[in-house]
Amino acid sequence: MLQRIANGDRNALRQLYSTYYHPLLRFIYRITGRLDLAQEGVNDVMLVVWRNGRSFGGRSSVSTWIMGIGYRKALKLLAASRRWTDRFAGAPFDEIIERSDALAEQSDDRDLRDLLDAALRHLSAEHRAVVELTYFYGCSYEEIAAIAACPVNTVKTRMFHARAKLKKLLPALGKDAP
């Protein structure tokens, strides 16, 4: 399909777009926290694929290559938007911990997901990406290293620190469900 796209086949591009739209949208949204940036990011990624399809060297799978482009676009979009405002001030750190402690008494998974959204915003974009790629996309640490263009040990370290921070922010994670 990449060959067809490289040859200017718009129908092939449409197929690829349709396949990757939602995974990319979610991924970029999870990194940037903004749907408008995510929509912009998806089209930026597809523009790169359209223009540079021939440069795909086959060293990884197509999906890893595309998610890698998405990762870099997401970080760039986030950096650009943060030059002007801090989108991730979010709920105060203490407030999340307090609410999570209270939640531990109730063990409501839906509330936990809401708190998780807030807690993830306190992680760096790189750490959020590793959590998302591991737990939502089911990527191996080697695949994540290829996407983020970093050593596998860096992936493991990022995940380790992300887990530690989430554990502090969400004590409810450690409580047993009733």
Binding site: S18, L35, L47, D109, V131, Y135, L173, G174, D176
Partner: protein, 212 residues
Amino acid sequence: MTDFEPLPHTRAFELLPWLINGTLAGAEREAVEQHVRACIVCRRELKEQQRLHASVRARRTADVSAEAGFDRLDGELDSDATVARPRWRIRYATAAPFAVATAAGVAVLAVLLWLTPLPELDRDDYRTLATPPADVALVDIVFKDETTAAEMQDLLDAIDGEVVAGPSRLGRYSVRVASDPKNEHHVDKLIGVLTADPRVRFAGPSLADVQQ
């Protein structure tokens, strides 16, 4: 008998997420599983991470149509995307106070604007790309200090305008608007409306048009 080395606790502990998502394989997986069976700390961590895994997987993203997104991309490819898209809409969307700060100058601003060329408009390549066809005109707009980015966008939407350059150092935007070729006063009227708008400090024919 096993064909793998026992893992140190720290290595097994850091690999738990990939045991949970099922991507560990072979000897590495067996080594982690063996460690977890014997380590109460890792068993507790495994349970917590399984809960985190389930919560992350359960998070939903807004259901947005791929079709509309592709149509935008398709349009961009048609126009070859050589004219810069007005990304300020995105980047400045939540930065009204900063955008306002760029709209410097008070009483003498309008005069200064006419004397200060827009760098974007002076480039030959810009002229080539942005020279408007008969049914399109360029106008310059300076918004008032207190005008927020959202209000700017509302006004642009109302006149169906698109920013093609700016802001200049003095806060001037060059905006492409539809023009009625059968009505030579159409743009003048639009400029009159803009000038009267409480969100606008200044509106006038674009320097790009004036200088041609």
